[in-house]
């Protein structure tokens, strides 16, 4: 199927892009050869992986979590794998060693 491309007359003048943040339509997950996986049991909710991710693809959620040892957290960090490029910064920076980089299998 060929996509219907807009003609030049229907494009905004000056190549103005009118949709802020629209790169979300472009998923970058297929750049990834390694996949970061967060171990929620080990994670101490320090926020560092969220802070340093170049893609902003680690999501901070107000989602409670209780570890098997009974430790209660109000926040949870989850990875949106649509954009993760697998750089490994999160795993490198995690002070609790809660993130493992595993081989990506598609």
């Amino acid at each position: 199927m060929t996509a219907q491309l807009p003609g030049w007359k229907s494009l905004p003048p000056g190549a103005v892009i009118t949709r802020p943040g629209s790169t979300v339509e472009y998923k970058t997950h297929d750049w990834r050869t390694l996949r970061p996986v967060i171990d929620q049991e080990r994670c101490i909710r320090c926020r560092l992986c969220w802070l340093y991710c170049p893609e902003g693809t680690i999501i901070e959620l107000d989602k409670p979590y209780t570890t098997k040892a009974g430790r209660k957290y109000t926040r949870t960090y989850e990875i949106n794998y649509d954009y993760c490029k697998g750089c490994g910064i999160c795993a490198q920076e995690c002070p609790a060693k809660a993130i493992k980089m595993i081989e990506e299998v598609r």
Binding site: I17, T23, V24, Y26, T28, C53, Q92
Partner: protein
């Protein structure tokens, strides 16, 4: 007089993202980390004017954009001139009553080191000299990365680039890095600071300050580049942190002439620790590393003299 805002903690950084994913910056790009947190610190009332370079070409692949701010593409050499024009237009529109007089909008120019240290230097100097209410941010990845790692005035001594190759005669870049902060400060601007992506709360505080202060302000941001520096993408933040821990990079700010180091380092690590993680320095001999160590020692001494006490300590192995 210097304003002493509350030093932010990691929990003060807003959760909301103003810089969208799906951009095409390389895996582990330092500039991507910078842009995420710069946009958070700017808040919504800012207009960004961007010189071409990596950040521009990777974030605005038509018909999409990663930016949520009003954002203007400008040629390689004139982000500062474009930003000056936008700021003047805002003034005129306020005068004509089109925009409310009390509406605060900061114009922010962003350029790479090539676009700032080299080809955009005249536009930058003009902007600073005329006193526009513009914040200029240079993300310094120490070469022309977008076009294939050509050296710039910001390339450090002995670094390999495609135009300062390593062979029998050439040993990488043979000129020292240009002192852009010195050039900016010679314009007597009210605020100028250096920031580093490993130290986000420091960056956040400085961008907030630079937005609040009226007049031309300047931020020089350290920006590790994975292909250009030949580093493991996982080590971007590690390399950035080591730059500070070795004294290769010093986080400081100059507010109305008052100089302050914001990340003191009591015991420095040897520069070797920083250099050895980067392929662009792989060719260095022991003597060459010792020479770079001496250059860093001299700069640290100069900074300590400026502050009037030892804020960056000696190398401890």
């Amino acid at each position: 007089m210097s304003t002493k805002p509350k030093i932010p903690t990691i929990w003060d950084i807003p959760r909301e993202e103003l810089f969208a994913p799906g951009h095409r910056m390389c895996q582990g790009c330092g500039a991507a980390i910078l842009m995420r947190h710069i946009t958070k610190a700017l808040g919504k009332d800012a207009i960004i004017v961007e010189a071409t370079g990596c950040v521009e070409v990777t974030t605005t692949v038509y018909p999409q954009t990663a930016w949520k701010h009003p954002w203007l593409h400008i040629a390689f050499e004139n982000a500062a001139a474009g930003a000056s024009g936008v700021e003047a237009a805002i003034k005129a529109l306020k005068r004509k009553g089109v925009i409310p007089k009390d509406k605060k909008v900061k114009v922010v120019a962003i350029g790479g080191d090539g676009g700032t240290f080299d080809i955009g230097l005249q536009a930058l100097s003009g902007m600073l000299e005329r006193g526009h209410n513009v914040l200029y941010i240079v993300y310094d990845n120490e070469a022309y990365m977008n076009t294939g790692i050509q050296r710039s005035g910001a390339t450090p001594y002995k670094a390999w680039t495609t135009t300062t190759p390593v062979g029998k005669v050439w040993r990488g870049e043979w000129r020292p890095k240009k002192d852009i902060m010195g050039i900016v400060l010679a314009h007597r601007v009210p605020y100028a600071a250096t920031v580093n992506p490993a130290y986000i709360t420091d960056l956040y505080m400085k961008v907030r300050k630079a937005v609040e202060i009226e007049g031309p302000t300047f931020i020089h941001a350290f920006s590790p580049c994975t292909p250009g520096w030949r580093i493991d993408p996982a080590l971007t933040v590690t390399v950035a942190r080591l730059a500070v821990q070795t004294g290769v990079w010093i986080n400081y700010e100059v507010e109305n002439g008052e100089f302050r180091v914001t990340t003191p380092v009591s015991r420095r690590k040897p520069v070797r620790d920083y250099l050895k993680l980067q392929g662009r320095f792989r060719h260095l001999t022991e003597e060459e590393i010792a020479e770079i160590q001496r250059m860093v020692d001299e700069e640290v001494e100069r900074i300590n003299r400026l502050v009037g006490k030892t804020v960056i300590g000696p190398v401890v192995k």
